[in-house]
Structures are given as structure tokens and as C-alpha cells.
């Protein structure tokens, strides 16, 4: 009996409940259907600006500025032709182009689709007046990326581009929208997650004329986060000027942390060609330029390092006790292996030399002999420890790891036996070996800091949060090996007729190694890699001149100027 009453109450409750749901979903369903389907319910995106990119001293390099765009609401257009004619009278865009853009908007009939971008202040006012009689036009504010110093640090900064359809499909679940910009290279790409703001939006109910009648929902936009680079704007610009009309790369980094203070790849490009409607005309030139300005030579270009690599031959021989710093090798000007003769760059020869002389003179024959004692695989083993053949892990996209040859590598990749002649070439940084300037900078930093391999980075912090912290690996070399090579490197720049004397400075001791790498194209690459001051080094500099002749001359001179400037800036 009581159970009966109990179940009756339950039945009544459930019936009432379903009646209520029925009222909402069937009874007054039309009201909500109109709200959601016939576009009475509108979502207005509230753009969140992308974060800025600043240099190590907080100087803004990239920021978002406001731009006004004209968008159309396709479903409200009465006469597309007439609209195109009218807009043609205002903007410098052909009627055909306008018409095709208007028709394109049919794909998203209920959302505003941008057809004329960045119309400027004057025309914005004009459009606002015009918009009164045009329910089919919407004036939208968007953010525009501004690269303040144009080509400066373009390879570090990267660029942004409008998201394309296939990217959108992949990224839409991460909050990207159809009109979003997405980082395409450099820091813009690598740190896109941080830089990108989180868009908000407003959901409004509009009346039959499309005006806002009530606000139903609101989601606050969150601006992207600011990125502080390790780059020093002054040093960066200075280095770029030095590389004007040259092809190549410069890397300047703090050997005790791996923080990159300057990274130049020449020629450079202006990142705004991808976003600014005027500059966009230059894209074609940039893309078809045979000097490949988009390529970041500092991390994505790989080249034979030449004599800079002799340090690795020395490390392997010393660490494996195949030679000591006092071991004498004689240079007669050439070296004969079987029937082949390998020349030193000095025809007369260098005579009897110990390690320091050989480094100073950059004698080939000395290192041929030393390299043959070590063997190619031992050289590779130590060069691998110093980071050659693998990516440095820098926080930039598109890094290439180059080639670190070995007997196994050759038989696997070329299906050929490794010859002693290969070892001879290898021991002076020629042959199959390919390295990037950042790898050379890492290698030189090991000598600068006394034995640690650093992970380079270009971003210091995101807002106030440090994101990189001088990650390092102790290479466990014997202290004697490191100090002997350091002494040799000091001699290169400061010794009597040292090959790197062009880099010499009065205020502090610069040490380093030059390199002139022969290429199959006849012209040579020039290299200089060095650090200063000698004890407790503050800066490692690598200068790479693509087909730029002798490293001992231009590259060392350039590096010397960079060290000097760094001294003036208080970095050293």
C-alpha cells in the first residue's frame, strides 16, 4: 500500500519531468532553434593579440598592432556584383578580384569573411559610415604582426602566416581558428604555443536587422605571452652589418650557458613579406633567390669545417695517447700516401713541429700524421662527443645535424670501403664531414669553458618564467688535453705569424682557430671559431663565409671586430 503511494509519487515526478523537457524541446523549441540555427545567436570572436618578442634587454623586436579589415556576411548579400563595384570605388582592388573573394565567402555564409585587409585609418572611417546601410559588410579589427627592425634577426624570429586548410584540420583541436596566424619558422614557430593568445568570444542574440539585442555568453580573450630572447639587439645588428653583401653565418654565444647573443644568416629577409600586403609582392623574389635568404645557415646549413676541425683530430690523439703535445711531426710541404700526395698549404713546409706550432700554423701534414695515428673512427668518436653529427637541440625549428663520417657510415651509406686517404682528408676537416656553424660554436665553447658541451638556446624566458638554463654535459676529457689545445688556440691568434692574428684584440686575449674549407665548386669557405677572454670566457664567436675565401683573413677579421664590439657593449 505505502509502496504503491511511493511509486505513484515517482511516476508523477518522472511524468512532470518529461513534460518539462517536452515543453522546452518541442513546445518552445522554435524559439531556441531560431536562436541557434537562423543565426540569431551569433558568436563574435574577440581576438587575443599574439605575444611580443623582445631582446635580452627588453627591447621589442616583434609585436602585434591593430589593423582594420573589411569582411562580408555572405548570407546578407543581395547583389554581389553591385557590392564589388561599390568596394572597387573605394579600394585599389580590381572588381574581378573583389567579386571572386566575395564568392569565396560562400563557404562560410554566416560568419564574416575578410575580403580587404588592413585598409588604414582613413578608409576605416569611410567604411564605418558606409557600413550603416550595409548589413552585408562588417568592419573587423585584427592584429597585424609588426617586425620592427625588418630584416634584423629574421632567422631567429621566423615569421607567421595565415593558417591553411590542411594545417587547420590538424590544429583545430588546439584552439586554432580559420583566420589565425600560425608561426612558420624561428621562434614564431618553435614557441607558437606560448606566443599565441587564446581567443575569446561573445555570444550575442541579434534582432532581425542583425543588431546586438542581448549578450548571452562571454569568454575573455587571453593575450599571448611575451618571449624574451637571449639575443642582444646591438650585437645582432652589428654582426648583420658586417655580413652585408656576404653570404654566410655568425653565431655568438655565451660559452658558459649556451645563450645565443647573436645569430646571423646572410642574406636575410623581411618577415613582413608574408603578411604585409605591399611587401607581399616581394615574396616571389625571395623564394626564387639562389642565395636562399630563408635558409638559416647558422643551424640549417651544413658545410665542411676545414681546419677548424683539426682540434678534434688533436683531441682524439691526445685522449687516446697516440701522441702527446710534445710529439714532433715533420712537415716537408706535402705528405705521400701510396701513390697519392697530399699538400700542406705552405709549399716549403713547416718543418718539425709540436702541437702548439701545428695549431698556430694550421699545418696540414702534422694533422694528417696525427689523424692516421688516431684512425677515423676515433676521431669520429670524439667529434661526436663534441656534438658533431647530431643536432644541438637549440630551440629553433629546422636544425640539421650534418654528417659525421666513419668507416661504418661509409660502407652503409656509400657502400664503399674507407681508405686511409679518407682519414687524411678527414683529419683536416675535409671530405665527407659536414657541420653547421652552431655545431662549430658548441665545439669551440667546450674549449672556452674547460670541458662542457652546452645546449644552445635563443629564448631566455617566457614572460617571467625562465625556460632555458644552461643545460650542459661534462665531456670528461683530461684537463691536460683541454689546456694544451687552449694554449694552441691562443697561439693561433696571438702567436708570432699565427694564422688567426687578424682576430687579435688589445683589451683581452682572443683564442680560436681558422679554417679554409675546399668545396667542389672551386671557391673555398672561410671559417673562424674562437672565444674571449682566454680565462673565464664570456663569448664564443663563429664566423662562416660561404665561398668567402680564406678564413684566416676575412673571417678572423670579422670575428675580431665582433669581439671588440662585444667588449664595447660590456658583454666581455
Amino acid at each position: 500500500m505505502r509502496i504503491g503511494i511511493f511509486s505513484l509519487i515517482l511516476i508523477i515526478a518522472m511524468v512532470l519531468l518529461l513534460a518539462g523537457v517536452a515543453y522546452l524541446q518541442i513546445g518552445i523549441h522554435e524559439k531556441y532553434k531560431i536562436m541557434s540555427e537562423e543565426n540569431r545567436l551569433k558568436v563574435l570572436p574577440l581576438m587575443a593579440p599574439r605575444g611580443s618578442i623582445l631582446d635580452r634587454k627588453g627591447r621589442v623586436l616583434v609585436e602585434d598592432i591593430l589593423a582594420f579589415n573589411v569582411s562580408v556576411l555572405y548570407y546578407r548579400i543581395k547583389d554581389a556584383n553591385a557590392l564589388a563595384v561599390e568596394l572597387n570605388s573605394i579600394f585599389e582592388m580590381s572588381k574581378e578580384e573583389l567579386l571572386s573573394r566575395i564568392k569565396e565567402s560562400k563557404k562560410n555564409p554566416y560568419s564574416p569573411v575578410c575580403i580587404v585587409e588592413d585598409i588604414g585609418m582613413e578608409k576605416t572611417v569611410h567604411m564605418e559610415e558606409l557600413g550603416m546601410n550595409h548589413p552585408d559588410l562588417v568592419l573587423q579589427v585584427s592584429a597585424k604582426r609588426k617586425y620592427i627592425y625588418e630584416e634584423t634577426a629574421s632567422h631567429v624570429l621566423g615569421y607567421v602566416g595565415l593558417i591553411n586548410r590542411s594545417e587547420f584540420k590538424k590544429l583545430k583541436h588546439y584552439g586554432y581558428r580559420i583566420n589565425d596566424f600560425v608561426g612558420r619558422d624561428g621562434v614564431e614557430k618553435y614557441y607558437d604555443d606560448y606566443l599565441r593568445g587564446k581567443h575569446g568570444g561573445k555570444q550575442i542574440e541579434v534582432d532581425h536587422r542583425g543588431r546586438e539585442a542581448a549578450t548571452l555568453g562571454f569568454r575573455e580573450p587571453f593575450p599571448g605571452r611575451d618571449i624574451y630572447l637571449t639575443i642582444d639587439l646591438d650585437l645582432q645588428k652589428y654582426c648583420e652589418n658586417l655580413m652585408e653583401d656576404r653570404k654566410g653565418a655568425i653565431v655568438a654565444m655565451d660559452p658558459s650557458t649556451g645563450a645565443v647573443l647573436a645569430m646571423v644568416s646572410a642574406p636575410a629577409y623581411d618577415p613582413e613579406i608574408f603578411i604585409d600586403k605591399e611587401k607581399r609582392k616581394r615574396i616571389k623574389n625571395v623564394l626564387s633567390d639562389h642565395a636562399y635568404p630563408l635558409l638559416n645557415r647558422a643551424i640549417s646549413g651544413v658545410y665542411p669545417p676545414g681546419s677548424v676541425f683539426k682540434t678534434m683530430t688533436a683531441v682524439s690523439a691526445l685522449e687516446e695517447s697516440k701522441a702527446t703535445p710534445k710529439t714532433v711531426f715533420n712537415c716537408s710541404g706535402s705528405f705521400t700516401l701510396g701513390k697519392t700526395s697530399f699538400a700542406c698549404w705552405k709549399e716549403k713546409g713547416h718543418g718539425d713541429q709540436v702541437l702548439q706550432d701545428a695549431l698556430k700554423n694550421s699545418c696540414n701534414v702534422y694533422f694528417f700524421k696525427m689523424g692516421l695515428l688516431s684512425g677515423a673512427d676515433k676521431i669520429s668518436e670524439y667529434a661526436g662527443k663534441f656534438g658533431f653529427g647530431s643536432s644541438s637541440g637549440i630551440d629553433l625549428p629546422g636544425e640539421r645535424s650534418g654528417t659525421l663520417p666513419s668507416t661504418a657510415w661509409k660502407s652503409k651509406n656509400l657502400n664503399k670501403k674507407w681508405y686511409k686517404g679518407d682519414t687524411v682528408n678527414y683529419s683536416i676537416g675535409q671530405g665527407y664531414l659536414l657541420t653547421s656553424p652552431i655545431q662549430v660554436a658548441r665545439m669551440m665553447s667546450v674549449f672556452a669553458n674547460g670541458g662542457y658541451l652546452m645546449k644552445p638556446y635563443v629564448v631566455e624566458r617566457v614572460d617571467d618564467v625562465r625556460v632555458n638554463s644552461g643545460e650542459k654535459v661534462f665531456l670528461d676529457l683530461s684537463p691536460e688535453t683541454v689546456s694544451n689545445i687552449r694554449e694552441g688556440l691562443k697561439e693561433v691568434v696571438n702567436g708570432y705569424r699565427g694564422t688567426g692574428c687578424n682576430a687579435k684584440q688589445k683589451e683581452f686575449i682572443v683564442s680560436g682557430k681558422t679554417g679554409t674549407a675546399q668545396t667542389s665548386k672551386g671557391k673555398n669557405h672561410g671559417w673562424f671559431a674562437g672565444f674571449a677572454p682566454f680565462s673565464s670566457a664570456k663569448l664564443t664567436v663563429v664566423v662562416f663565409d660561404e665561398f668567402g675565401g680564406k678564413g684566416g683573413y676575412y673571417s678572423a677579421k670579422t670575428a675580431g671586430e665582433i669581439f671588440k664590439k662585444a667588449g664595447d657593449l660590456g658583454i666581455i
Partner: protein, 363 residues
Amino acid sequence: MRAAKGRVDKVLLFTAVLIALLGVFFVHSATWDWQNDGHGLDSLVIKQAVWVLIGLVFLVVVARMDYLRILNYAYILYVLNLAALVFLLLFGGERYGARRWITLGSVSLQPSEFIKITVILVLAVFLGERRERIGTLKNYISSVILIMPAVILIFLQPDLGTAFVLIPILFAILFVCGAKVKYVLWNIAMGLVSLPFFWAFLKDYQKNRLMVFMNPNLDPLGAGYTIIQSKIAVGSGGMFGKGWLCGSQSYLKFLPERHTDFIFSVIGEEWGFVGAIALVGLYAIIIMRGVRMASKSTDIQGKAIAVGIVTLISFQVFVNIAMTTGFMPVVGLPLPAISYGGSNTIVTLIGVGILLSISRRIE
């Protein structure tokens, strides 16, 4: 002790499993767009699936036990549960302005969910001990006093909904087990009269919710927001809904708590009235089977438990759907075994497990 020989109620078992599995699908749908935030909310679906699995293990364990044996532990469980609530009030960390969660590693438990079951058990054993004197006023008052600590502790958290659900459970059990109707009616009247007194105890956001319930447009971007968004979602679903993962209200994720208390708005939008009827129908099957057990159970304990669990489930379904559709103020009760949440899922499945245990005695 009699041995439980009867077979388990298969209809009840399958319906409960079906509801729990549907819950995983609905949580998927509700969190679908949430993935945009990049906070890995898609993992909520996996978590919910894990909760369902854990819940089913509990269900099987409980169903295989003799419910009269479970009752031996009722007082201990109740006291432990009250202790957990006291602990929360004293040391619990605040989340969304309330102290409801005990966090053990990466898992948060809501003792207030578990009290829903322990209150039912403790009432069953209490009334079972006094089966000859159920009708007396003294017994009635003792029963009320017995569960008052639970109601008050949860009210202080504050968790209005859960505190509120304990009261109809009490009334239903007392009523079905034979308490005098006039006591029950008097009690309800007294409760209503003292309501204004409770107003003073409410937190500001709770007062707000009640005010806005009367007129959501008072504050369309604040407290009325959820109600409006939820009504638009359910209302625009219409007869047949917009289809799986096609709810447009999700676009900017305007509706908070879509995967927890407001999951019915997702169901209503995507599956329409047909889906709502089907869902309520599934719950109705569980409720009907429970009522049948209450009427067939020969002992007062079984009756009390069955009535309690039936009340628990039906009250939550009713209040949850009514608040999602704007017919009741938002009080924060989950849709049993469907709303995202480990405690809710496990407790509901334990409840069904106990019903199954009872079914083995009567079939």
C-alpha cells in the same frame, strides 16, 4: 541466516551497465571541444571509463555479498564517513568555494557522495533493530537525529544539493517502512517553515543562484549564464537533436561544467527529446526494478535499502534534469552514473550492486 539462492536481476544489471557506458560516450561528447584548451581534457573520457570499470568491480563485489552482512558494518562505515566530512571541514582545501574533495595522490574523492549510501545503510540497520516500534514518535525522532550530523556537515561544506537529497531519502524510507504519516507531514511542514532560517546560512553564490533562478536575465553573464546557455542547448535540440558531437553550443564552450552537472544539456542538444525520453526510460527501469524489490523484500532492512536507493537515483535524475532545463535552481546534483566523476559513478554502481544483492534473495 538464510542463504541467498535466487538469481540476480539481469534486467537491472544490464540497464545499469548500459547507463554507465552511455555516460562515457556523453562525457566524450561534452569534452570534445574542450580539447581546444589543450589541457588534455580528452583524458577525462579515459578517466571516466576507468571510473566505470572500478564501479563495476564494486558492483559485482557488493552484488555477490549478502546485504544483511554488509549492514553489520553500517555503523562503522557511517562513522568513518562522518569523520571524513569533519576532516574536510577542518583541513580540506577549498575548491570552487567549497570543501568537498579529499585528494589522495592524483585521485579526488568526495565523501559527500559516499554518505548518500552510508545514510541509507545506517537507516536500514537502525530501523531493522526497531522493527516493532517503527511507528513511535520516539523512533521517528531518533531516526531524524541519526542522520542530522551528515546533513549538517554537508550543508556546511557547503553542498546544498547533497544535503538536500538526504532528506527525501529519510522521508521515503520512514514512510515505506511504516512511520506514522502525520509525523512525516509535520516534519515536512516544519522544514518548510524553517527555510527562511537557512537562508542566512547560505553562501552568497548560493543565494545568487536562487535569485537568478527566479529570473536568469538578472545577470546573463554571471550567475544566470549557465541556466541560459543550458536552456538554449536543450531547447535547440528539439525532437531528434543535432546528432552526435554536433552540438553547436559547444563552439566557444560557453557552458561550464558541461561534463559534470550539466551533461544533460549536451544529451538534450545532441539527441533531442527522443534521447531524453530514452535516458529517463532507462533510469525508470532501474527505479521500477528497485520498487519491485522493496515490495517483495520480506525484511525491513531490504525494503529500506531498496527504497533509499530508488529515492536517491530518482531524486538526482529529477533535480539534475530539472535544473539543466531551468525548472529548478542550480543545486549541483549529478546525473547518476553519467555525469563525469569517480565518486558519483562508483556510488551509483555500488547502489545498484546492493539492489542486485537484494534481488538474489527474492527471486
